[in-house]
């Protein structure tokens, strides 16, 4: 484990590289209002972040990352376009693995830019790629936007699409929904009985709680509509599966996705964006012929990313977390922007891991 002073020096070196790439250094508070993070991530964030409180301000969290406060700062008074860099400690609970650090330094680079998002994706990735090149890491890339486009393009009800979109980042629930909407999973007996009942509320008993009879009736209506809707076709399920299975070098992945788009034209704009990004990467000297691409990359870890995603890992060291990671988070700026939004992409590097790997070489 490198010493703190060495980590601080490495963080400074990385930040200067980001400044040289045009980023303005910014700082954020360590304590963040818990409400914002809870609204974004739900209760799960409590398993990953430290929560504290006082009697006046209520719950606060030790910042689990910089992205949220940097987005908030930009949405409040940032000029466009903008490039930011930062370095500092983040805090993560590690209740299942004592070997993982619960406090470590991140150095980040973020771009807020409306024009040519694929060029911004490539700019961030190439910057990280060049900085990390001496370490010989494995770079993985993906694009959540392709799966999202596939869901939006399904020939089914808006309600089903919304349910699938809501669970894009929870593969198990996503799969269960696909199975149900496509008729692959049997309808539970209790559900059948409920929908067949003349008056479903006949044996409901005492009405208690805030969720009222109108809400229950609305859900039963929704379930009846869903029962009447045609199942998602087996062909469409196969296409979703085919997208999730794409795991190749980037140019082959692009070819594969173009094949799938023949049967599912809804993903074409997202596939074109991937192509434009690969061109922009190539122009920046990245060998896209050997760069790995996985369509489902980042689906379980990187919740606010909704487009391009990437990660750098040390090969042969499955014990280590990602040395660097990042991606596009347009939807996050929409959620935090109170009516405003701006396309944004960025990433972070862990200087402690960079030093540790340099020492091992």
């Amino acid at each position: 484990m490198p010493k703190r002073a060495a980590i601080r020096a490495e963080a400074e070196r990385l930040r200067h590289l980001f400044e040289a790439a045009g980023a303005v250094p910014v700082e954020t508070s360590v304590l963040q209002p818990a409400e914002v993070l809870l609204d974004l991530y739900g209760e799960d964030i409590r398993a990953r972040a430290y929560v504290t409180s006082d009697a006046l301000r209520g719950e606060q969290m030790l910042r689990p990352d910089f992205t949220v406060p940097v987005v908030q700062m930009h949405m409040e008074h940032g000029a466009e376009p903008a490039r930011y860099t930062y370095s500092g400690a983040v805090f993560r609970r590690q209740e299942d693995d004592a070997a993982r650090s619960n406090e470590y330094t991140q150095v980040g680079f973020e771009i807020f830019e409306r024009a040519a998002p694929e060029a911004s994706d490539a700019e961030v990735f190439a910057l990280f790629y060049d900085i990390l090149r001496p370490l010989g890491l494995r770079a993985a890339t993906g694009d959540i936007g392709i799966l999202m486009a596939a869901v939006d393009g399904l020939q089914t009800t808006d309600r089903r699409k919304a349910a699938l979109r809501r669970h894009i980042w929870r593969p198990r629930r996503f799969r269960a929904l696909i199975d149900r909407f496509s008729g692959r999973a049997p309808v539970p007996e209790a559900r059948k009985a409920l929908l067949a009942a003349g008056d479903p509320m006949a044996n409901a008993g005492a009405m208690i709680g805030l969720r009222g009879p109108d809400e229950i009736a609305a859900r039963i209506r929704a379930l009846r509509e869903d029962q009447a809707a045609a199942p998602i076709s087996g062909a469409e399920v196969d296409l979703i599966d085919a997208i999730l299975a794409v795991r190749e070098t980037s140019l082959n992945a692009l070819e594969r996705l173009r094949d799938i788009a023949v049967d599912m034209p809804a993903i074409l704009p997202a596939v074109d964006r991937l192509a434009a990004r690969l061109d922009a990467m190539e122009a920046r000297g990245i060998d896209v012929k050997t760069l790995d691409f996985e369509a489902s990359y980042g689906r379980t870890q990187m919740e606010y990313y909704d487009g391009f995603v990437f990660g750098f890992s040390a090969e042969g060291r499955p014990d280590l977390p990602l040395v660097a990671s990042g991606g596009r988070y347009d939807a996050l700026t929409r959620q935090l922007g109170r009516g405003r939004e701006i396309p944004a992409v960025g990433g972070v590097i862990r200087p402690d891991l960079v030093l540790g790997l340099e020492g091992a070489q």
């Binding site: 209760e43 299942d96 198990r172 008993g205 709680g209 969720r211 859900r219 929704a222």
Partner: protein, 231 residues
């Protein structure tokens, strides 16, 4: 030094624990007045009785301040991260059975499974502007369970007692609590989700993996284990 055995300090859990040890020829008892939390041990040498709240026993085991302790599996799993690395289950004692379950109002005829709960939670948040509230004192266990099952748009409300009443009082929409017969749930117009069983718990004798032991403590532990045929 002696082998320290932590036992719940009052109520049926204490009495049943005393009964269980009596079957192996070890008499545990409280000394002095009913109000004094001191105890004695007969039938085995070098074992010291420590009377504690059942909720504190996991923490004391993990800190190594007691060598053995009787408490519920629910409390150990809730309070200790990586519990298997910190304590070892020596014996299930066959009493104090309780299931940790997720329950919703019985009038929610449209909600019978976690799948339904997740859909109802999404609609609830849109309608009311806040995430559906689940009252519980088992925060870690409930959160892990709901994450594994892909339920979103809920929040946990801390409830240390009378949890079944929170729905009627409209401080929560659903609850996660332990139940043995389900009577209290029914009396409060609640029902258990079909797939809402999170954990089956019972009173269990745990051994700390971190408490330092001297040779005489080890001998006392071996004697105790032999009396109950434990390995």
């Amino acid at each position: 030094m002696s082998l320290k055995l932590g036992v719940p300090s009052k109520g049926r859990l204490m009495e049943k624990t005393f009964d269980w040890f009596a079957k192996g020829g070890i008499t545990l008892g409280r000394s002095g007045s009913d109000r004094e939390y001191a105890g004695y041990v007969q039938g085995i040498d070098n074992v010291e009785l420590v009377l504690l709240s059942a909720g504190e026993i996991p923490r004391e085991l993990a800190a190594g301040r007691i060598h053995l302790g009787v408490t519920g599996t629910d409390l150990v799993r809730e309070k200790l991260g990586q519990w298997e690395h910190r304590v070892k289950e020596l014996a299930e004692l066959g009493f104090g059975q309780a299931d940790l379950v997720l329950a919703v109002p019985a009038c929610w005829v449209d909600v019978g499974t976690l799948d339904d709960l997740d859909a109802a939670a999404a609609a609830f948040r849109l309608r009311h502007g806040f995430r559906m509230r689940i009252a519980t004192k088992y925060h870690r266990l409930v959160r892990d369970f709901l994450r594994e099952n892909g339920v979103a748009d809920y929040q946990l409300m801390d409830s240390q007692g009378a949890t079944e009443g929170t729905v009627k009082n409209e401080t929560a929409e659903a609850i996660a609590d332990i139940t043995s017969t389900g009577d209290t749930l029914r009396a409060n117009h609640l029902k258990i989700l079909d797939d809402g069983l999170m954990l089956k718990s019972q009173a269990t004798l745990f051994k700390s993996r971190v408490a330092p032991m001297e040779a005489e403590d080890r001998r006392a532990l071996e004697t105790l284990k032999a009396k109950f045929g434990l390995d």
